[in-house]
């Protein structure tokens, strides 16, 4: 599913970092966010395509959509009710 760029959605830039660091950074960022908020994670490690959805499922968050923009993988995460 494509992720239309949206300037109102905060971005987390984890490009060039290798898994699980993108997951760790997402986890730390999500802790500071309120339920229902959206976050665009920008990554280059294709591992995020498996690991971020798994992390979201475990912790009650949701991957709304994923996309590729100019070599960057964008994963849009919706913070769940019980932020971990």
């Amino acid at each position: 599913m494509s992720v239309a760029p949206d300037a109102s959605i905060p971005e987390l830039d984890v490009r060039r970092l290798l898994c699980p660091i993108p997951v760790i950074r997402t986890q730390d960022r999500v802790k500071t966010m309120v339920p229902g908020a959206l976050l665009d994670v920008l990554a280059t490690d294709p591992g995020v395509l498996n690991d971020l959805p798994a992390w979201c499922r475990i912790n009650g968050h949701r991957v709304v959509a994923t996309d590729r923009r100019d070599g960057t993988i964008v994963v849009r995460v919706e913070v769940g009710g019980a932020a971990s």
Binding site: R16, L18, C19, P20, I21, V23, I24, Q27, D45, P46, G47, N50, D51, A54, W55, R57, I58, N59, S84
Partner: protein, 376 residues
């Protein structure tokens, strides 16, 4: 499930469900330890510590041939199978002290397993205390953890998992008797969760030794059909070649130290040290070349122009231009122009100023094996 009946008198609150924090590595043992607890009605959450030396993930992301394998973070996958939350915590910075100055020394290679276990259990203990404090502050009983579990088995690992190291880890980590090893607990004195009756000791296990058969049988009993390949392979510090590269790095720098980029780069490419004062990190394929590109602002580099070939990072400084040409001829050996009379490549400073070099590739026989740090 624990079916024990508890009598609650009017006005009394029912006893809360006990909660354990599990060290989840992604392997079978920690998976089984969680299962054993869940079978007793204990609520479990997992914690996985990122040291920087973890094998999975990194090489997958970099090397083409590894990219084709299904990619997953085993700790996350295990947590999902078990239906538990997982906290992944970056301890890479603090972990340096463990790797650089292990009080109990190294294992077969640069693996400081005993210190590592103490450190990880200690971190989990701190989490347990923080959770307790938080629960007290919020007056919301039930948020904290009561004890820690690990998948340790006596005799499984030659250094860190011995009968005498078990109490040592419990003591030195500060976890004391809140540390329970469900897979071998019956061979150890009862811990607090057992004495308090939160956990039934009779339903714990007494696995010992290096054989994996008891774990396989237990996995079968739990109906677990898929799990990560057990024992070893999860930490680069147990790898001989990697450990040699790390030792070489310390020797060349004349000090024991590293940062995250250093230890990441040790996982990538061929490492050749033709002279004590410089090392060549030569990519082996397109995925590695792409990854090393990201380091060109930090290192000077060679890049082939006339032929296809690797990108090379230069860790150190050449003493003269002649030496740079000589090093370029070594690198040319690993390019598609290895049989050519002459190849061209750029020699680029970290922030971009480049020079064209023309060299004759060095014959293979002139490249001694000893230059290959940690083997070819």
């Amino acid at each position: 499930m624990n079916t024990e009946q508890v009598e609650i008198r009017p006005g009394e609150t029912p006893p809360r469900r006990r909660r354990a924090l599990a060290l989840v590595s992604g392997g079978l043992d920690s998976m089984l330890a969680v299962k054993v607890m869940q079978a007793q009605g204990i609520e479990v959450e997992g914690v996985n510590f990122y040291t920087g030396f973890c094998v999975e993930g990194h090489t997958h992301a970099i090397r083409e041939r590894d990219r084709k394998k299904p990619k997953r973070n085993n700790a996350l996958w295990v947590a999902e199978q078990l239906g538990i939350k997982l906290h992944i915590i970056d301890i890479s910075e603090e972990y340096k002290n463990v790797v650089l100055y292990p009080q109990y020394g190294y294992g077969a290679h640069m693996n400081p397993c005993l210190d590592c276990k103490i450190f990880m259990v200690n971190k989990a203990t701190l989490m347990l205390r923080q959770a307790e404090d938080l629960a007290e502050q919020c007056a919301a009983d039930g948020d904290g953890f009561d004890f820690i579990i690990t998948g340790e088995v006596i005799g499984q690992r030659p250094k860190s998992q011995l009968k005498w190291t078990m109490p040592l880890i419990a003591r030195e980590s500060g976890a004391e008797d809140r540390l329970l090893r469900p897979l071998c607990a019956k061979n150890l004195p009862p811990t607090l969760p057992e004495r308090e009756g939160w956990v039934d000791r009779e339903q714990l296990h007494s696995i010992t030794g290096r054989s994996r058969a008891p774990q396989m049988a237990l996995a079968k009993a739990f109906g677990l059909e898929e799990y990560a390949q057990p024992a070893g392979g999860c930490c680069f510090l147990t790898d001989e070649s990697y450990s040699k590269k790390l030792g070489d790095l310390w020797q060349a720098r004349k000090r024991k130290d590293y940062d995250l980029d250093d230890i990441l780069l040790l996982k990538i490419g061929r490492h050749l040290r033709p002279r004590p004062h410089f090392k060549l990190i030569i990519s082996r394929e397109a995925g590695e070349t792409e990854f090393l590109q990201g380091y060109r602002y930090q290192f000077s580099s060679f890049e082939m122009v006339s032929h296809g070939g690797p990108l090379t990072l230069i860790d150190g400084e050449f003493e003269s231009e002649e030496e740079a040409l000589w090093a370029a001829s070594i690198v040319a050996r690993f390019s598609q122009g290895r049989e050519a009379e002459e190849v061209t490549m750029t020699w680029q400073a970290p922030k971009g100023v480049g020079k064209l070099l023309k060299v004759k590739p060095m014959p293979a026989d002139d490249i001694p094996k000893e230059w290959h740090v940690g083997g070819t």
